[in-house]
Point group: C2
Chain length 405, copies 2
């Protein structure tokens, strides 16, 4: 049958990352491409005990729930956010199927085709996919190492009247970058002044490689909520990286009005997310020291990041540049300008290593000599070999290029 | 902040059913309004054992999964569908967050604003909400007690060139009606001939009140798949009614091409549904006799339907009409023409009984003297009292009407 798909559906690309993952799964390829947490660090036993406890009562744990999510878990999340400097009430929290659904639902309630959305570059690939699906008119804001440039932002707020600014300002995926405190304050103030909503996507913010007070800037949501202006930040987080992804539980923190609107949209989308997973997480948070767990996972990720960084530096490759991230899961490489990493990828796969070409993280005008490396999922004993394979691929690519010239 | 919501978001109404549920929860109101299964029949212990087993291994059960869903569960579903007369392969199955998400994703990939969709009346409220969200141009097809009328359907297929026909042909929500076998064949043949997709929504089809072979007609999907024509039926089902709703696991069965497109849409929507719930269901299907469980739940629901039916008949109310459904969860009442059930509802709530006014299940031209009663969730010992309260409300309504005249 010849099916006429919707205009939006025709706009959906498949995720390059997921395509690479499919190829590398089960093969000998050392994948630095995925965005997976280390599964050997998941608190499996505590999760098992939590489900066991939740399912030891009567059948009510298995009944339909409310669209906004299991109330006691919403209360716990509000409590954690308050302790993290974001004062919110339970009715300002709504549960979603991972933070990906939070992005989708926010797009759903805000965007008509052609509406302007501002992003930084590079930015989260699946957010770009959602924005494209809703046919947003995506514009980028210039930045330096501290974050978006206020002058450029203000010019675009004034001229383009965007509906939304989307950002991952802390341990960015893919760049690993973290905005400075001053820049955060400026960006929030500007958006408050121009009445533009910010979607602050913060899936990695708790994976910190330093515990020194003040070393990690406050969230945009904290700055926004602690000001006396009308709130402009919608905040989204997830248990995927601090507990486990399979439970697909994320949250949105926003004003009660926005939460009500998102709930109406979610009702048509799927009625509600898994209530049993929400109850299990609620039980887990009561009995398991999640803060201690996050600290321990973060220490391990820090050491894995250091290992990758050292192996990269040990290659002594001229023109190779990167900054060690302060947290999160990704390290962003800039290679000499002539190297197009999309073209490099097939050679790297032949050598037995995978990465994500930087190009896919730009809505337009990509910096083609960049790549994203993940350091959380690859077993540490394979990292040296992975980096060496990558270097061999680069050497091979140069030989081929020279041959063509 | 003055937020400009998307046109689609402005089109979302809140579900009347969910609003009624909110009011009745925790009160003394006997609710015949909800669409909830009986939670005392959920196989809690078997579900607990399944999670326990899945979480007794290493962390891989908690890792990200693929968008299409946990492959072994997709295989089991394909196997069950094949045994139910719908020959499909694993790659024609995709898992969703309940069948509500299946409806949403199908709308997402097919509908541009203004596209025509055909429905029967009355029809599933949350499907109407999805269709409205995607700004479909909804048209109704005339019907009699056997289902849609082929003549009217053909005229509309020819004239309106619809993208989709949406139907719940078996134990319909809200009407309880079941299309005849002949009518099913005619409808499928017409849609095959005109190249129009059918979305067959079948959440209740396994809750049968008779085990006599041939007494329940084959699904549209079975008729479609067993013909030698190009397939036009997209089929959706769910574990919500045959295991439990909290796991939010439904499925789509469609051609591999459609499944690929739905998967791309789902990737932007939420990456994937809860993988731990999918693994638990897979484990449950291996160790628990689900067919026996469904038979036992169906017997209980049959007896509850009979009880409600008898209590209604016992009132001897003139002009009260209904048909006992052959399965499912709902009984559809037609009252004397002068009774507007939307206006009756507040009086009924005062008397301490809730129902859903029939009006909400029509995209236009509602039959206002109808209502949906659920018989699965109310404890049997309260049914008589519930029906008597309903009758008192009707008497009261008539007195008020007479007073106004």
């Amino acid at each position: 049958m010849n099916i006429q798909y919707s205009t939006a559906a025709q706009n959906i690309g498949s995720s390059v990352v997921r395509e690479i993952l499919k190829v590398t799964q089960g093969s000998d390829v050392i994948s630095l491409a995925g965005g997976l947490p280390a599964e050997e660090l998941f608190p499996v036993e505590a999760v098992r005990a939590a489900y066991n406890q939740v399912l030891s009562g009567n059948g009510s744990a298995l009944q339909y729930g409310i669209t906004e999510g299991f109330t006691p878990l919403r209360e716990q999340i509000a409590g954690r956010l308050a302790r993290q400097g974001i004062p919110v009430n339970m009715d300002e929290i709504m549960l979603t199927t991972g933070s990906q659904q939070a992005i989708d639902l926010i797009c759903r309630i805000l965007l008509d085709p052609g509406d302007v959305v501002l992003v930084e570059t590079p930015t989260y690939l699946a957010a770009l996919q959602s924005l494209n699906f809703y046919r947003a008119n995506i514009h980028t804001v210039d930045h330096d190492s501290e974050g978006m440039l206020p002058e450029d932002l203000e010019e675009k707020l004034r001229r383009l009247k965007p509906k939304l600014l989307y950002t991952v300002p802390t341990f960015n995926n893919p760049s690993g970058a973290t905005w400075s405190t001053e820049r955060r304050q400026q960006i929030v103030q500007l958006c408050q002044r121009y009445g533009t909503l910010i979607l602050e996507d913060n899936p990695y913010g708790e994976l910190r490689f330093t515990s020194e007070p003040g070393s990690i800037p406050p969230t945009l949501a904290a700055i926004d909520r602690n000001s006396n202006k009308e709130h402009c930040v919608i905040y989204t987080g997830t248990f995927s990286k601090i507990v486990a992804p399979a439970l697909r539980t994320g949250w949105i923190a926003a004003t009660p009005e926005l939460v009500r609107m998102v709930a109406k949209a979610k009702q048509t989308a799927d009625l509600h997310s898994s209530a049993i997973d929400q109850r299990a997480l609620h039980q887990l948070l009561r009995t398991f020291d999640i803060e201690q767990h996050i600290a321990s996972v973060s220490r391990e990720y820090h050491s894995r990041m250091k290992l990758l960084s050292q192996e990269l530096l040990a290659q002594g490759m001229e023109g190779l540049r990167f900054r060690e991230p302060l947290g999160g899961m990704f390290l962003w490489l800039t290679l000499p300008a002539e190297i197009d990493t999309t073209k490099l990828l097939p050679l790297a796969m032949e050598q037995g290593v995978a990465f994500v070409p930087g190009e896919v993280f730009y809505p337009s005008h990509p910096e083609k000599n960049t790549m994203r490396l993940n350091f959380t999922h690859t077993p540490p004993q394979l990292v040296q070999e992975g980096v060496q394979r990558l270097m061999r691929a680069i050497v091979q690519w140069r030989e081929l290029e020279t041959a063509i010239l």
